[in-house]
C-alpha cells in the first residue's frame, strides 16, 4: 500500500455566524495516499468544500480549525501563517468550483500564474515567463504563448478552468484540492477537464482530492471515494467496492437516487427529507430521520468510522442489512 500523504484526524471546523458558532466540519477522519484520486461526495452542506478549505486553513477568523491535519506526518493545525504559506500553493494546490469568480477579473492569466511562481520558486524573470507558457501548454490551452496576456473574460468556461488548474500547478504541488472543478461546466467540457486531471496525475504523480456531488464523475475518475454526511465521513473505500456494495445507508440512498440515463420516464428515487442543520445532530447517528434502516441501536451514539475489511471504513450500525436490502430493490 502507498504511504499516506495526508491524514485527517477528528478535523473540526467552526464558523462564526450571526447566530453563533456553527460547526460545519464535525470530526472528519480521512487519509489520502500518494498519487491517488480520492473522491469526496455528499449533498450540499455536508462539509465537503469546508473540509478542503480547512486543510489549507483558509477559514477566516473568528472561524477556527481543530483536530489534526497530518501532512507528510507534520501537523498543520498549530502552524503559524508564514509557515502555512509555504505549504499553500507550493505543496498543496487548490482549484475552485467557478473559474469565472475564482480568477481575478482584472489581472491577466499569465500574471496570476507568475504571482505563484514568484512566491514559491527561485526562477528568474525569463524563466518564470517561460514556465508560465509551459504551464498553460501543459493544461491544454492552445496557442499558450499568445494567450498568456489574455484576461479571464477572454477565455471560455472550460479554458478558464484549465487556466485555474495551471495556476494551481505552478509550483508542482504533491496534492491538488479540487472543489467541484467540473460542476459549472457542460458535460463535454467536464469530461475534458476530468481527463486532464487524470493525465496530470499520471505525468506529475500528484494526488487529488476531488470534491463533487456527481457519482458518475467519481466512477469515471477516482480510485477511492469518501462519502460525507452532516460534516463527517460516512463511508470510505475503493470506488468499485463502495459502489458495488455500500455499507452505509446514506451511500445506498445516494446510489439509488442516480437516475439511469438509458431508461426513459422512470420515477426518481431521492432520499426523503433534508440533512440536519449543523450543530443539531447530537449523540446519535445523523442520518436517522431519513434512514429506512434506523433502529434503537442507531440512537445510542454517533456511530464511529470503523474498519470493515478490504481497506474500507463505514460509520453505520446496519452495514450488513444493507446488502440484503439492495438485492431486494
Amino acid at each position: 500500500m502507498r504511504a499516506p500523504l495526508l491524514l485527517l484526524r477528528g478535523l473540526q471546523t467552526t464558523l462564526a455566524t450571526d447566530n453563533g458558532a456553527l460547526t460545519v466540519v464535525d470530526g472528519v477522519d480521512l487519509d489520502v495516499r500518494e498519487g491517488e484520486i480520492l473522491g469526496l461526495v455528499g449533498e450540499s452542506g455536508s462539509g465537503k468544500s469546508m473540509t478542503l478549505r480547512s486543510i489549507l486553513r483558509l477559514i477566516r477568523p473568528p472561524g477556527r480549525v481543530s483536530g489534526e491535519i497530518l501532512w507528510r506526518g507534520r501537523d498543520l493545525v498549530p502552524l503559524r501563517e508564514p509557515e502555512m504559506r509555504a505549504i499553500r500553493g507550493r505543496e498543496i494546490g487548490m482549484i475552485f468550483q467557478e473559474p469565472m469568480t475564482a480568477l481575478n477579473p482584472v489581472l491577466s492569466v499569465g500574471r496570476q500564474i507568475l504571482e505563484n511562481l514568484r512566491a514559491h520558486t527561485d526562477l528568474g524573470r525569463t524563466a518564470r515567463r517561460n514556465r508560465t507558457v509551459e504551464l498553460l501548454d501543459l493544461v491544454g490551452i492552445p496557442a499558450a504563448a499568445q494567450r498568456v496576456n489574455d484576461y479571464p473574460h477572454q477565455f471560455s468556461g472550460g479554458m478558464r478552468q484549465r487556466a485555474m488548474i495551471a495556476i494551481a500547478l505552478a509550483s508542482n504541488p504533491s496534492l491538488l484540492l479540487a472543489d467541484e472543478p467540473t460542476t459549472a461546466l457542460d458535460v463535454t467540457i467536464q469530461d475534458q477537464i476530468l481527463k486532464l486531471l487524470l493525465r496530470l496525475r499520471e505525468t506529475l504523480g500528484m494526488a487529488v482530492i476531488l470534491v463533487t456531488h456527481d457519482l458518475g464523475v467519481v466512477a469515471q475518475s477516482c480510485d477511492r471515494v469518501a462519502v460525507m454526511y452532516a460534516g463527517r465521513v460516512a463511508e470510505i473505500g475503493e470506488v468499485s467496492a463502495v459502489f458495488a456494495a455500500p455499507r452505509h445507508a446514506y451511500t445506498l440512498g445516494l446510489l439509488q437516487s442516480v437516475p439511469d440515463a438509458r431508461r426513459i420516464r422512470q420515477a426518481l428515487r431521492p432520499i426523503g427529507g433534508a440533512p440536519p442543520p449543523p450543530g443539531t445532530v447530537g449523540d446519535r447517528c445523523a442520518f436517522i430521520p431519513r434512514c429506512d434502516f434506523a433502529t434503537a441501536a442507531c440512537e445510542v451514539r454517533r456511530p464511529p468510522l470503523i474498519s470493515i475489511g478490504g481497506g474500507r471504513l463505514a460509520a453505520c450500525v446496519h452495514g450488513d442489512r444493507l446488502q440484503q436490502a439492495e438485492w431486494a430493490a
Binding site: 501563517e81 502555512m84 499553500r88 482584472v106 504571482e115 512566491a119 514559491h120
Partner: protein, 310 residues
C-alpha cells in the same frame, strides 16, 4: 483605449455649447443688468443706454448669443464689464490658484480615504471601523463653510498655526496658505470616497478570487495590493471623477471663507456685478475642466478593469 481620446474630446464640444446656452439665458433671466450694477445710484437712462450700447447689450438676445459663439470660436471670451480687461486674462490669473486648491484637496482626500478605508474594512464593525465611520459621518453631514470657519477660528485665529487667508509668497507660501482651505474642501470628498471604498473592499474580500489568491500562498500584503485594491478601486475612481465637479463647486465657498484669490471668488463677484462675460467664461472653463476629469477617470477605470475595453 488611448485611441478613444480624440473622439471623447470632440464629445465635449456639444456639452459646452449646451452649457453655454443655459448660462447665457439664465444670466439674462436674473433681475438687474450689468449697466445698472456698474453705475448703481448714479444711473440715469442716458448713461445706462450708453453703457449697454458700448457693451453690445442693446442688441437682440440671439444676436448677442451668435456674437458670443463667434468670439468663442476664436478663443475670445469677451471683455469684463467691471474690470475692462479680457475675460481670458482674468481667468488665467485666478485659475491656477483654484486648480492648486482643488488638486491639493483631491490629494488630501485620497491620502486620507485610501488607508482609512482599508483599516475600516479589515476591522469591520470593530472599534476602528466604527470610530472612522462616525468621524466621517460628521465630515459628510457638516456644511463646508462651517468646518472651514471652525478650522479657521481654532487653528488659524486662536493657535496661529496657519494663516487665516490670502496666498502668501512663492510656491511653498502658497502651499502653506492652502493647507487649511484644501483640508476643508477635502473632508467631505474623503468621507464619500472612504465609505464607498470601504464597502467595495468588504465586497471584494468575500470574492472567490481572494480565497484563490490566499490558496496560492502569497502574503496577505500581496493579496491586498495585488488583488483587493485594484478591484475595489474601480467604482471608487468613477465616484472620484463625479465628485470633482462637487469639489469645484465647493471651492467657490471655501475660497470665500479663506479669502483665496481663486476662480470661485471671481465667479461670486461677477454674479453680483452682473458681469455676463466673466460668468459665462468661468462657467465654460469649469465645464471644460470637469469634462476633462471625467475623461481621465474613464480612462483610469478602463485601465483598472480590462473587461471595459472588450
Amino acid at each position: 483605449m488611448l485611441a478613444r481620446i480624440p473622439g471623447r474630446l470632440l464629445q465635449i464640444i456639444p456639452t459646452l455649447i449646451l452649457i453655454g446656452v443655459v448660462v447665457f439665458v439664465l444670466l439674462r433671466l436674473l433681475p438687474g443688468d450689468p449697466a445698472s450694477a456698474l453705475l448703481g445710484n448714479r444711473a440715469t437712462p442716458e448713461s445706462l443706454a450708453r453703457i449697454n450700447a458700448q457693451m453690445g447689450f442693446d442688441k437682440p438676445i440671439w444676436v448677442q448669443f451668435l456674437l458670443f459663439l463667434g468670439r468663442l470660436a476664436h478663443g475670445d471670451l469677451g471683455v469684463s464689464v467691471t474690470e475692462r480687461i479680457p475675460v481670458t486674462r482674468v481667468i488665467l490669473q485666478r485659475l491656477p490658484v483654484t486648480l492648486c486648491l482643488v488638486g491639493f484637496a483631491a490629494v488630501i482626500a485620497l491620502v486620507l480615504a485610501l488607508p482609512l478605508a482599508f483599516v475600516a474594512a479589515l476591522r469591520q464593525n470593530r472599534l476602528p471601523d466604527l470610530a472612522l465611520r462616525g468621524l466621517f459621518q460628521i465630515g459628510l453631514s457638516s456644511p463646508v463653510f462651517y468646518i472651514g470657519l471652525l478650522l479657521l477660528g481654532f487653528l488659524g485665529a486662536r493657535l496661529h498655526w496657519f494663516p487665516v487667508g490670502g496666498l502668501g509668497q512663492g510656491f511653498w507660501g502658497a502651499v502653506y496658505h492652502l493647507i487649511l482651505p484644501a483640508f476643508t474642501l477635502a473632508l467631505s470628498l474623503a468621507a464619500v470616497l472612504m465609505r464607498n471604498l470601504r464597502s467595495a473592499i468588504i465586497g471584494v474580500l468575500r470574492a472567490d478570487y481572494v480565497d484563490f489568491a490566499r490558496a496560492k500562498g502569497i502574503t496577505p500584503w500581496r493579496v491586498l495590493t495585488g488583488h483587493v485594491l485594484r478591484n475595489s478601486l474601480i467604482t471608487t475612481v468613477a465616484l472620484f471623477g463625479l465628485n470633482i465637479g462637487v469639489l469645484l463647486g465647493n471651492s467657490v465657498i471655501t475660497e470665500n471663507v479663506f479669502a483665496v484669490p481663486g476662480i470661485g471668488g471671481l465667479l461670486v463677484d461677477a454674479i453680483f456685478g452682473r458681469d455676463y462675460p466673466v460668468v459665462q467664461g468661468v462657467t465654460l472653463v469649469l465645464a471644460v475642466l470637469v469634462s476633462l476629469v471625467f475623461l481621465a477617470t474613464d480612462l483610469m477605470e478602463s485601465w483598472l478593469d480590462p473587461r471595459l475595453h472588450a
